[in-house]
């Protein structure tokens, strides 16, 4: 298997046949994969004043009310179109935590124009898909459809975010569904560990809370909370209408003007301030010796999306890499940590991550180990981190840079990943970064910079740790902190 290429697969992983495929799309963004943002193209020569690309342009237009329309036309017979909204659980407080997610659930429950049944029938009969997800900083509604149905898809999206009925009966029914979803999330241990990690790293702040919200909130959120959230956050300047696949920008623009032009006004008064979220080095341990494996995440505070150091941290993240014991592969993988983990049978799998928010981020590693190897694995991980700060080599960095570019470029395959990339970049950077620029930024990284940047964010820093399962042998927090420094052994 593609060992070094663990974070994505060349061929779809699940060997499911097309005809027999149950289309189950996750609603909630997990926030756990290593983050890549991207482009879809090739290396450029830095010297050349121009570079010819074999990809279409991303066209961006801003409406009078601040709504941005961005699209890339690749002439396919299908397309993805969606609304990327700059609002997520980070804008909630202790009392209404869960509202953004609740709202996402209510979106498909009927509008003034169409009942829930009408909406479902219409989507299903046109062979389209409608989906939504909420993360800590974004809410996304998107549709996939035949290109010929683009006007209808935009009309439906406009309808569900502007004219949702938010009926009392539907709200009551949805509480049960969300509680059930909560149970489902709790069976996904990776999600549980990441929620714990946020809870400890960003304790007592908005980023520390979960996206779903606590049970008592799910039981108490009412129509007014939902309406308030919409009127505060769903405003023109905070929304991007993004599309990819077979979409004509001018047509999309006309549709946007028609459906959103008059309605989504700009903010009257202040844009709600982004609540500050302070990072605290700390830990959460949930010991359960009955569980077969220990699940751990350890992270330091990294930077926000747009920070110049992001690229360097992403290279460092790629250097640590991902590994799963069923890859086999043995001693010769590009990640040194994978070699160590494999050689010493230290864990079942590990995955490095770099999760970014506007002004902060978490850079770290998630691992699944057997009870006996927890301490050894963590020790090796920390040693690797320190090596990043002190003597990572030029050739390793060169390799990681190459891999990072490959990861970003190959990921953009199909209209939905491209549309997601457009929507996300528009919200994060207010532009789509051209590939040559992205490549130039990666090319500029060298070993010295990796050492410098890693030293700045990792060396001697107090980490946030979340651990779940048979973790008796996990060293105590002070010892782990001690190992964030150079130790000769």
């Amino acid at each position: 298997m593609a060992a070094a290429a663990a974070s994505r697969t060349l061929l779809p992983v699940a060997r499911r046949q097309l005809w027999g495929f149950t289309r189950r799309l996750p609603v909630r963004g997990a926030g756990t994969q290593p983050l890549y943002f991207g482009g879809d193209r090739l290396r450029s020569t830095q010297a050349a004043p121009q570079v010819v690309l074999n990809v279409p342009e991303t066209r961006v237009t801003c409406l009078e009310n601040g709504l941005r329309v961005a699209s890339e036309n690749s002439g396919l017979s299908t397309c993805t179109v969606g609304l990327w909204i700059d609002a997520g659980s980070r804008y909630e407080n202790e009392r209404n935590n869960g509202t953004a997610h609740f709202l996402e659930h209510m979106a498909f429950k009927g509008t003034k124009k169409r009942s829930q049944l009408d909406l479902e029938l219409e989507i299903e009969n046109m062979g389209a898909h409608l989906n939504a997800y909420t993360s800590r900083e974004q809410t996304v509604y998107y549709a996939k459809a035949f290109s010929k149905d683009l006007p209808r898809a935009v009309e439906i999206l406009a309808d569900i975010i502007q004219n949702s009925t938010l009926g009392e009966a539907e709200i009551e029914r949805e509480r049960g569904v969300i509680l059930r979803e909560m149970q489902e999330v709790e069976t996904n241990l990776q999600e549980v560990v990441f929620d714990y990690l946020h809870a400890t790293a960003y304790q007592n702040t908005a980023l520390g809370r979960t996206i779903l919200g606590p049970t008592e909130n799910i039981k108490s959120i009412n129509r007014k909370d939902l309406v308030d959230y919409i009127t505060t956050h769903y405003k023109g300047p905070r929304i991007v209408l993004a599309a990819a696949g077979g979409v004509c920008h001018d047509e999309l623009l006309e549709l946007a003007k028609f459906h959103f032009g008059d309605s989504l006004c700009a903010h009257t008064g202040e844009i709600p301030a982004l609540p500050p979220c302070k990072f605290t080095g700390s830990e959460i341990r949930v010991r359960d010796d009955k569980m077969p494996l220990a699940h751990l995440a350890i992270a330091v505070e990294a930077v926000g999306w747009a920070h110049p150091d992001t690229i360097c941290l992403m290279v460092a993240n790629t250097l640590i890499g991902n590994w799963d014991r069923s890859f086999g592969g043995g001693m010769n993988l590009s990640s040194k940590l994978a070699q160590l983990a494999c050689h010493g049978s230290l864990c079942h799998s590990f995955q490095s991550f770099n999760t970014s928010y506007t002004d902060t981020g978490l850079w770290g590693l998630y691992m699944v180990c057997e009870e006996a190897t927890v301490a050894d694995m963590l020790h090796v991980v920390q040693q690797e981190w320190i090596r990043l700060c002190t003597n990572v080599t030029e050739s390793e960095v060169a390799r990681a840079k190459n891999l990072l570019k490959t990861n970003m470029l190959l990921q953009l395959d199909g209209s939905t990943p491209i549309c997601e990339d457009i929507g996300r970049q528009m919200l994060c950077y207010n532009r789509r970064i051209p590939i040559p620029e992205l490549e130039a930024r990666i090319d500029a990284v060298n070993a010295e910079m990796v050492r410098d940047v890693c030293t700045k964010y990792i060396y001697g820093k107090s980490p946030a740790i979340a651990a779940l399962g048979p973790i008796e042998r996990l060293p105590d927090f002070n010892q782990i902190c001690g190992n964030m420094r150079w130790i000769r052994d």
Partner: protein, 524 residues
């Protein structure tokens, strides 16, 4: 025929989910890194001095044309144009667990894990990866019951290197003792993971194939049985490779490449190459046709604590009931695919909005009416000489009997009247699923490769759509009635105390209404 179906669908995860909010105006950043040469410019502002990109434009629809050539040694070369800078190229081979009757079961599984290890020209897997990285490439090998695929996605400019590498990987692997030892471990781990996974679908699929095609072809184990792990060595692998890795059983397929260039590379690297295992020529190839037998495979297992974490998952019993459908080479394949779409289904709790098949029969008739059921999903597996349409269902062990009866009734209803609206919906959804999956380059690659491997040509997406559009209610009724004449295949996993007997399930499927025969028991 329509192997497009093979193209596996890809779940698009909301990986974008953790994002920042945009700040208009100058972004608030903190200290910058000390690296003096590194641009201290936030990502929200353009980097000065970067060349100005000149973008491509789409001139109308992509030209759909698949070109196929055959080399003198019988190897087929197929290619398809595609917009974009990357290509996916690979070698597909008619090889997989269905050909293992005379060999140790598990060889194909081993070969999958051993793929892209050291070869005559590349000293180690790492060297292969390094070579690919220079062209921004990644590699992967996947094996199914009847096909093994070695594939690379890379910058189109590296085509020559990529084909050379693929030829080496397929024909000249070293298969060192050390690599085989590592593979034994990886296979062992995969078997463990398979049994630990909360989703029983792969295991049930394995079981139902075993039940439907007892001890032959596609009914053979896809995963290496634990007892064979130690027995498979280089000699065993070579004796298998000699018979099955021959040019006439291979297709070199490429998406996003020039056909002439691909053929040229194929001639250079794949014509007249002497493989590592010596002389070529299929001496002893298993050409047996799949024999559908029907039958039942039961695995009694305590599922009361399958949860890996602190939150318990309710105890479930899983059943899968299937009947023989048809091969993907037959005309009836398309109506079966539409029927499968019409049955649809999924989990009783599944995320995702409208578009997941909410009006398919397994939702409307089963999950929406019987809230105690956890899952009801239809699957269609199709091969070159046979096929299997099956329904997976799960519920509390105490309701197994009821659950089986609900499923058998659904099978009987397949042969009854088909509503025009539901048929049209299923057809549209099938077409959209096909077209949406074919947005992705690796999926197109798999589709081109599999179709050419099976039929020497490729049915294009729009031709398939025409065939789908032409399906009439009578077609569905006809294929379903024909299917219902066969014996069922049943797989059952979990607490099976209340599982009806195989004979009863068979009787139910042969009856008018799908009811299980009444059993009278004095003492319960």
């Amino acid at each position: 025929m329509a192997t497009a179906v093979w193209a596996a669908a890809r779940l698009l995860r909301g990986s974008a989910a953790r994002c920042a909010r945009p700040r208009f105006g100058p972004p608030a950043h903190r200290r910058f890194s000390s690296g003096a040469t590194y641009p201290n410019i936030p990502l929200s502002s353009p980097l000065p001095g970067v060349p100005k990109p000149v973008f491509a434009t789409v001139d109308g629809q992509e030209k759909f044309e698949t070109k196929v050539s055959t080399l003198d040694n019988g190897l087929r070369v197929a290619s398809q144009n595609k917009f974009g800078q990357f290509c996916t190229v690979g070698i597909l081979i008619n090889s997989g667990s269905r050909y293992e009757a005379k060999y140790l079961s598990g060889i194909a599984h081993f070969l999958e894990k051993l793929a892209f290890s050291s070869t005559a020209r590349f000293e180690s897997k790492d060297e292969i990866l390094l070579t690919l990285e220079k062209h921004g490439g990644i590699c992967d090998c996947q094996t199914s019951r009847d096909t093994t695929m070695y594939a690379v996605s890379a910058d189109s400019k590296g085509l020559d290197t990529v084909v050379g590498l693929l030829a080496d990987v397929v024909l000249h692997p070293c298969l060192t003792d050390e690599e085989i030892e590592m593979t034994r471990m990886a296979v062992q781990f995969e078997l463990e993971d398979l049994n630990m996974r909360p989703d029983p679908e792969p295991l049930l699929t394995e079981m139902i194939h075993e039940a439907a095609f007892r001890e032959n072809t596609v009914g053979l184990h896809r995963f290496c049985p634990a007892e064979n792990i130690a027995k498979i060595d280089r000699e065993v692998l070579h004796s298998y490779l000699k018979n099955y890795y021959t040019p006439d059983r291979m297709v070199l397929a490429g998406v996003g490449v020039e056909h002439e260039h691909l053929v040229e590379c194929a001639r250079k690297y794949l014509l007249g190459a002497q493989p590592a295992w010596g002389a070529t020529g299929s001496v002893d190839v298993d050409r047996s046709v799949a024999q559908y037998t029907g039958g039942i495979i039961k695995v009694e297992r305590d599922m009361s604590n399958v949860s890996l974490g602190p939150t318990p998952i309710p105890e479930l019993t899983h059943i899968m009931v299937g009947l023989e459908s048809c091969s993907f080479l037959e005309d009836d394949f398309i109506p079966f695919a539409v029927l499968n779409m019409m049955m649809g289904g999924g989990g009783s709790f599944s995320a995702g909005g409208p578009g997941k098949g909410m009006f398919s029969r397994l939702y409307l008739n089963v999950l929406n009416r019987h809230h105690w059921m956890y899952n009801a999903t239809s699957y269609h597996h199709s091969y070159e000489d046979t096929g299997l349409l099956c329904i997976h269902a799960s519920a509390d062990p105490r309701q197994v009997r009821e659950m089986v009866e609900i499923i058998t009734k659904e099978f009987i209803l397949m042969g009854r009247t088909v509503d025009l609206v539901e048929l049209e919906r299923a057809k549209t959804q099938l077409m959209s699923m096909l077209m949406m999956n074919l947005e992705s380059r690796p999926v197109i690659f798999e589709d081109v490769g599999r179709q050419v491997l099976a039929t020497h040509s490729r049915k294009l997406p729009h031709e398939l759509c025409t065939l789908i559009r032409n399906v009439k209610p009578e077609d569905i009724k006809r294929v379903a009635s024909k299917m219902l004449h066969g014996k069922p295949a049943v797989a059952a996993l979990g607490d099976l105390t209340d599982l009806p007997t195989y004979e009863h399930i068979q009787t139910a499927l042969a009856s008018r209404d799908g009811r299980l025969p009444r059993t009278y028991r004095l003492f319960r």
